[in-house]
Symmetry: C2
Subunit: 155 residues, 2 copies
DNA sequence: TATTGTTATACTCTATAACTATA
DNA sequence: TATAGTTATAGAGTATAACAATA
């Protein structure tokens, strides 16, 4: 792919900026996590399962804002890597509780260090004030209620 | 999809923030552009073709950082909508020059207004200083050379 | 030989529909 | 009847390989 410097007509667009920031971070994330045998999405799953006790697949999917069918494949992969175990909930036998194995907890810790180092390097071109502003504004935009949320759960 | 408030373990991740900012903006963009019959990617193509004279498909693809095979389908769709025309370059008959039709120029103007209004609304939760900081830091991160660029054109 | 556009193909991510087992 | 997990399937979006026309 012939890669030019992006023209001003693109870098003034929020859509272009978000997309390419995301793409660049995903690349760096894959590079940083590759030695740990997982990708950024899998790391996020591990982090959520570690942060909340006894989450079912559906509950974890809800926190991650991913579909339950996507969650199946994600847990499959993590189980194959012996980082996560499924067990039926005793209270509700429809539910699969997904929990980290001891190996999974180790992997999470190591991979989180790699992720944090990657993020520091990613933000290195910015002043610390600008980096803080970026994170804060993104949190505000992502956490803020969507227009679609005004009525019901339409998205 | 059961949508929870995202837990802190996710909103502290740059990957999560970029991804969901991008997803939210894409939703709003689709909504804002829908009356104009195009999506954000098509609008970006129109804007690039309008900003540079006599771009070939490959040259436009380079500016947009998309693959030439993707460009074919994109120009196909825009040509079907009679917003863009292909013509063979007289200088190099391998090249297809893609240029806006008069209808395409009108559509670009109208859709750009819709996009700008959408972006203003999207950033409305932020102070104007924060909004400016967000755009500036994103431009810095996206425009800055990637580690992969240090050596050659590997990505 | 290399480049441009094109087509066919495949891969990833995601969502929808339908099935099963439980409730 | 409704819910949780699963499977099959399909739709975006993107990339690779191969081909025709042109350089």
């Amino acid at each position: 792919m012939t890669r030019d410097a992006p023209p001003e007509v693109l870098t003034s667009r929020l859509g272009y900026l978000f997309k390419h920031a995301y793409l660049r971070l995903t690349e760096e994330s894959a590079r940083a996590l590759e030695p740990h045998g997982i990708d950024g999405r899998e790391l996020a799953v591990l982090a959520v399962l570690d942060a909340h006790d006894d989450l079912s697949q559906l509950e974890a999917a809800g926190k991650l804002a991913i579909d339950r069918t996507t969650m199946v494949a994600l847990v499959d992969a993590l189980e194959r890597k012996e980082l996560v175990e499924r067990r039926r909930s005793a209270k509700d036998r429809r539910k699969n509780i997904a929990q980290l194995t001891p190996t999974g907890r180790e992997r999470l810790r190591d991979a989180e260090h790699a992720r944090q180092a990657m993020e520091r390097q990613f933000l290195a071109p910015l002043s610390s004030a600008d980096a803080a502003c970026l994170v804060r504004t993104l949190q505000s935009l992502v956490g803020a209620p969507t227009r679609a949320d005004d009525t019901s759960d339409s998205a």
